[in-house]
Amino acid sequence: MPQVFHRSMNTISRVSIVGLVMLIGGFFYFCWAVNMSPYYTRAKLQLIQPVPFSHKHHTMDDGIDCRYCHTSVENSSFAGLPPTETCMTCHSQIWTNSVMLEPVRASYATGQSLEWARVNALPDFVYFNHSIHVHKGIGCTTCHGQLGEMPITWKQNTLYMRWCINCHKHPEQFVRKREDVFKPVYNPPKDQIAMGRRLIKEYKIRSLITCDTCHR
């Protein structure tokens, strides 16, 4: 009775066993990689904006405070986005005919709002409140990155729930002094953990990880 298979089949079959395992493993790795990739999270992506606004320039060179534009950050869930008016307070005086700022002047003239591409967005079922984080000593840069070094603004973190929870579980690693909250560039001190522990007591920070903290 002739052999059904060529003898090479022995090797192939052995290899296929290993190969199958690797194939399955590879699939899961691929899923994970996509999930973490900027393509998916939009983190570290520089978006096309109507006006190439530079936080670096405005906060560092001009030394404008965050709250000058994001007015409601201390008393509302929403930090606030500056109306065209705010831009024009200065830009009616300086750079009055720069091409870059044409959309701003147009908006101010026509009353048509500027349409910015949203950098940091959360799903609708997540209720994040800026005011309380700021009050408890979580700085802008903790989530939004070193804005003072961003010529064009990008999303610094994945904003995945896992990432939120991490801070909510270990606030001492991130909390800073209230006076430092609005520093556009901030690097934690050597004794961050020690200071963090101290501030947690001082600011009465509770590690809130129950669902109602964000989901309603």
Binding site: N35, Y40, T41, R42, T71, S72, N75, S76, S77, F78, G80, L81, P82, P83, T84, E85, S107, Y108, G111, Q112, S113, L114, E115, W116, A117, R118, A121, P123, D124, F125, Y127, N129, S131, I132, H135, K136, K204, T210, C211, D212, T213, H215, R216
Partner: protein, 1016 residues
């Protein structure tokens, strides 16, 4: 409309429900089986035009299906990333606007012409929620179902969106032009042919404007007609006092209240305030406390009657005899016989009379707006004889700007139109084609008018018959003013620019007067400035400040009417009518508890609202007592032909325990034929048999079975069972066996304050192998709720408030039939005793927030978990929809999105949604969250101010709107909090504590305060 048409409306109403299902098909089949005759087809044929309206609803339904499909498919590839979004700032940001922080504006809602003070929440210029205005005498912070539901009316997709001329789209300018042409020759004739029809008007400015108009056109006439108006009360006052006055009750001063077929806690101008005052007199915080006593003699169960300590069943037509007997007994001269009517026991009357006499000046007798003037006159006389007048009831000038006999006014108008004297007819905010009594041929007469203008929120039956339909501005869109039940005037300030460029009645009248571009704001402000300068107000030097304060407070200071000294006599009242034969059946028409006179027929929240006692949704029905039904051979859902002097309608039967034998009640406001996708054809139109002579209580009515049936849908089942000769309800009996409702008399309570408590072994916590996660008593907050069954009147306001606050979806009749209604809070009704004359008990049920919650440990994904503050959290975005939690919930307070119920299709509804609450999609469980969003907001504010949340700082939506303050919410770990104090009361008990669920919502047992003189 012919009877056949009205018959045909019933299939229609089933036809339009937002969800299709087998139930509907069942119904259709049965109709065709029984009515598949030429007659039937002929009958439905004329309905097809209206049939179109449902069509649109059907299409939307299909869209919803597609939506569900796409959602499903999207789901298959669930890992989709957030879409790229734009973010758009203002160009010039308004001063007070802070994105993320809502603003509240004081305004007032005209209801039946009378003002209800409101405080309306606005998110970036979108009114989303109406609350009561604590500073308003008619509200004290509470609202009723209509106030709560009015925001949905604002955003209703059915609203008239553009002026139409002969059904064709036109512009406001074209209208002004066309109107101008007609006014020219009117002007020449002094307005001989000009007639205006409005509802009851209490607005000083509007009245002033119309008066101005009447001076411009001396020959013109202003008619008023409110379908469920207060003619009887007005005429009654005129009979008793010889002049129009408005009676204002001071229930806070009344220890004994006798209601002669009155539902004074619902629908009357002062109802909300009355309910509060009444409830305040029966909050028994300690055994020594005293309670008021309510005697209710009524023909149909009302929310007022549900709190009665003695409820007497009496036919509405017999109430006059009862009133006369009462009057005679308290010594009113010339009131006629002292004989109580049949069915009223002598000791009942004696008991009431003695109780009243014992409480001179602190008693009060009231009667309903649907009782004839004579009864009102008698009641005035009784109150005077008992020295209650001036104490528990005071009289003021009529709150109506121009009090008249409206029925007569309407008839005059119809006569004039019929005689061809009317050339220009302006209808403002009224729908007489639908709501005029059957013997007043409004439609026919109206056809003879050559220029007909209708100003209305919706394209309704009347608009369809007018040359011009002009979209009216909702009260949240336009300036105006209105008087409350006691005369207090409020400025109606808009929260949003007219969405469809609607015009208010004020602006319409201005146009008639040639002030084409006068703004409502200026008109109102000018009027009050004139009042101030005229010295009618003590506005002080600076009117601007006064105006600002008035807007801010929601009331105009110094406008409350002074008390009038009047003396009542019963000389003028007509002779007593012959009593109705004891076996004759009367038909009582009452305003609907949901749609009122039909003007709310577009409001899906109200359509789906389970009506008190019947729990009926999406229908009205003939309410028949079990005995009478048996005698007439009627069963639930039988279609019965109702014939009154030559007119007839066909309506389904609903057997209601507690309904007075031989008295059948039918609610007005249903059976609309042009009421958009939701309201068209829902229920039966009772106006078709209403007569101007007896608009409320019809005698000589013939009832006959048609052989057809119509499916009625309720949210609470009741299986009637025969038990030792008495009719019982299986559910209710079980409820009392299981001590779900706990009732005692005041004496029981004084003897044993803890009569409602569970035995100690029930209250002790059962041991558990699981570690107790948090020690709830040690936390900063432990949220809890206490519901006082002794003051809850079951008015449903909490349900609608919850709709508005928590973005709750409407599911439609068929889905309610499938047991899929989405209301987070419900009012259960249980009957005790023989169902012919039972005691009815309401119990508000919402998530009990169990500390040891059965729903939590069964959820496979941890979508429902417990917070350290004792909240049972439901995380919609984590829920995968196994429904295990609901199965394991002993209270069954969880609601599941079996299909895609939330409307993601209708753009006009998007701005209505509360931005602080997730809009739930298909396949997700949801439930009461104690208004978590409000708790979190308050906590964040408190944290920012480095303090803890103050008692009363967080109010749940249901608590805030509750007219009787029966719901109290707060922090149980704060010993000084109101809720803690209530929970320490001996009357406090929890539902199903024997299951060791440790509910955070508990109840205060109901107490009855019976008069020992009266047996049974």
């Amino acid at each position: 409309m012919s009877d056949l048409k009205s018959q045909a409306t019933s299939p229609d109403l089933v036809n339009i429900n937002p969800e299709p299902d087998s139930a509907r098909q069942r119904f259709w089949r049965s109709v065709e089986e029984r009515e598949g005759t030429a007659a039937f087809l002929e009958a439905v044929a004329p309905e097809f035009p209206q049939g179109e309206v449902p069509k649109t609803a059907l299409n939307r339904r299909d869209l919803l299906k597609l939506m569900g499909a796409s959602a499903g498919l999207a789901g298959i590839t669930a890992c989709t990333k957030l879409p790229a979004q734009k973010i758009v700032p203002y160009v010039r940001q308004p001063e007070e606007f802070v994105p993320g922080i809502p603003l509240f504006f004081a305004t007032a809602m005209p209801f039946n012409g009378v003002g209800r003070g409101l405080l309306v929440e606005s998110h970036l210029g979108r009114p989303t929620k109406a609350e009561g205005n604590p500073g308003h005498p008619g509200s004290l912070g509470a609202t009723d179902v209509f106030g709560q539901a009015s925001v949905l009316t604002l955003y209703s997709p059915d609203r008239a969106q553009i002026p139409t001329h002969l059904g064709k789209v036109a512009t406001w300018e074209e209208f002004i032009e066309d109107l101008g042409d007609h006014l020219v020759d009117e002007r020449s004739s002094g307005g001989k042919g000009l007639r205006i029809l409005t509802g009851t008007i209490t607005s000083p400015t509007l009245a002033d404007q119309i008066q101005g108009l009447l001076t411009d056109f001396p020959q013109a006439h202003w008619h008023q007609y409110e379908p469920c108006g207060r003619d009887a009360a007005r005429e009654g006052a005129r009979l008793a006092f010889g002049q129009y006055v408005t009676a204002v009750y001071r229930l806070d001063k009344a220890d004994v209240v006798v209601s002669l077929d009155s539902d004074f806690m619902f629908g009357e101008p002062g109802s909300i305030r009355y309910a509060r005052d009444f409830a305040d007199c029966r909050r028994l915080t300690y055994p020594g406390a005293t309670s008021n006593r309510l005697y209710a003699a009524e023909s149909t169960p009302t929310i007022t009657g549900s709190l009665a300590d003695h409820r007497l069943q009496v036919r509405s037509s017999a109430v006059e005899a009862l009133a006369r007997a009462l009057a005679a007994a308290v010594g009113v001269a010339g009131s006629g016989s002292a004989e109580p009517p049949a069915g009223v026991s002598a000791d009942w009357l004696a008991g009431v009379v003695n109780d009243l006499k014992a409480h001179r000046g602190t008693g009060l007798v009231v009667t309903g707006d649907h009782q004839p003037p004579a009864v009102h006159a008698l009641v005035h006389a009784i109150n005077q004889a008992l020295g209650n007048a001036g104490q528990t009831v005071v009289y003021t000038a009529p709150v109506e700007a121009n009090a008249i006999d409206e029925m007569k006014s309407l008839k005059d108008l119809v006569a004039a139109m019929d005689a061809g004297q009317v050339r220009t007819l302006i209808l403002m905010g009224v729908n007489p084609v639908y709501s005029a009594p059957a013997d007043v041929p409004f439609l026919a007469a109206m056809q003879k008018v050559d220029f007909r203008v209708h100003l209305g929120l919706f394209v309704d039956e009347t608009a369809a018959q007018c040359h011009w339909q002009v979209p009216e501005a909702h009260y949240l869109e336009a300036w105006g003013d209105v008087r409350a039940y006691d005369g207090t005037a409020s400025v109606i300030q808009p929260l949003i620019a007219p969405i469809y460029n609607g015009k208010s009645a004020l602006e319409m009248v201005a146009v008639l007067r040639g002030q084409t571009y006068a703004s409502g704001h200026d008109l109102v402000r000018d009027y009050w400035q004139r009042q101030a300068s005229g010295g009618h107000l003590n506005a002080g030097a600076n009117f601007e400040d006064f105006w600002e304060t008035s807007l801010n407070n929601g009331t105009i200071e110094g406008t409350t009417f002074p008390v009038k000294q009047v003396s009542a006599s019963v000389g003028a009242i007509p002779a007593a009518p012959r009593p109705l034969a004891s076996d004759a059946v009367e038909l009582v028409l009452r305003p609907s508890t949901s749609l009122w006179d039909g003007s709310f027929a577009h409001n899906a929240w109200l359509l789906e609202l389970p009506q008190p006692f019947t729990k009926l949704t999406w229908d009205n029905a003939l309410l028949v007592s079990p005995g009478t039904a048996a005698r007439l051979g009627f069963k639930r859902e039988d279609m019965v032909k109702v014939q009154v002097d030559g007119r007839e309608i066909t309506a389904p039967v609903f057997i209601l325990p507690g309904q007075t034998p031989n008295s059948i009640t039918l609610h007005l406001g249903y059976g609309r034929t042009v009421a958009g996708g939701a309201g068209t054809g829902v229920g039966v139109n009772a106006y078709l048999i209403r007569t101007s002579a007896t608009p409320w209580i019809l005698t000589g009515v013939q009832f006959s079975k048609t052989g057809t049936t119509h499916h009625l849908v309720t949210t609470q089942n009741n299986h009637l069972i025969e038990q030792n000769g008495q009719l019982h309800e299986e559910e209710s009996d079980a409820a009392f066996d299981r001590r779900v409702v706990r009732v005692g008399t005041l004496d029981d309570y004084r003897r044993n304050p803890a009569f409602a408590q569970d035995p100690p072994e029930v209250n002790t916590e059962a041991p558990s192998l699981y570690p107790n996660y948090y020690d709830y008593t040690k936390q900063q907050y432990s949220w809890g709720m206490s519901i006082d069954l002794n003051t809850c009147i079951g008015c449903n306001a909490c349900i609608i408030a919850c709709y508005a606050e928590n973005n709750i979806a409407v599911v439609g009749k068929d889905e309610v039939d499938n047991g899929r209604d989405m209301q987070w809070i419900r009012v259960d009704t249980y009957f005790r005793g023989d169902l012919e004359n039972p005691e009815a008990y309401n119990e508000v049920l919402l998530c009990q927030q169990c500390e040891n919650a059965p729903c939590e440990y069964v959820c496979p994904v941890g979508a429902t978990v417990h917070s350290p503050e004792g909240l049972n959290l439901m995380v919609y975005n984590r829920c995968v929809g196994t429904r295990y939690c609901s199965n394991n919930c002993p209270y069954k307070v969880r609601r599941f999105n079996f299909k895609l119920y939330s409307d993601f299709q209708t753009p006009s509804l998007f701005p209505l949604r509360n931005p602080d609450v997730t809009v739930r999609s298909r396949g997700v469980m949801e439930k009461c969250s104690y208004c978590l969003q409000r708790i979190m907001e308050a906590k964040i504010v408190a944290e920012r101010e480095s303090r803890s949340v103050r008692d009363g700082e967080v109010q749940t939506a249901c608590q805030q709107t509750c007219p009787t303050r029966a719901i109290i919410f707060g922090n149980m770990n704060d010993p000084s909090s109101a809720v803690k104090k209530l929970k320490q009361q001996p009357r406090d008990y929890g539902l199903l504590r024997d299951l060791n669920t440790r509910p955070h919502t508990t109840y205060l047992a109901r107490l009855k305060n019976p008069n020992p003189e009266i047996k049974g």
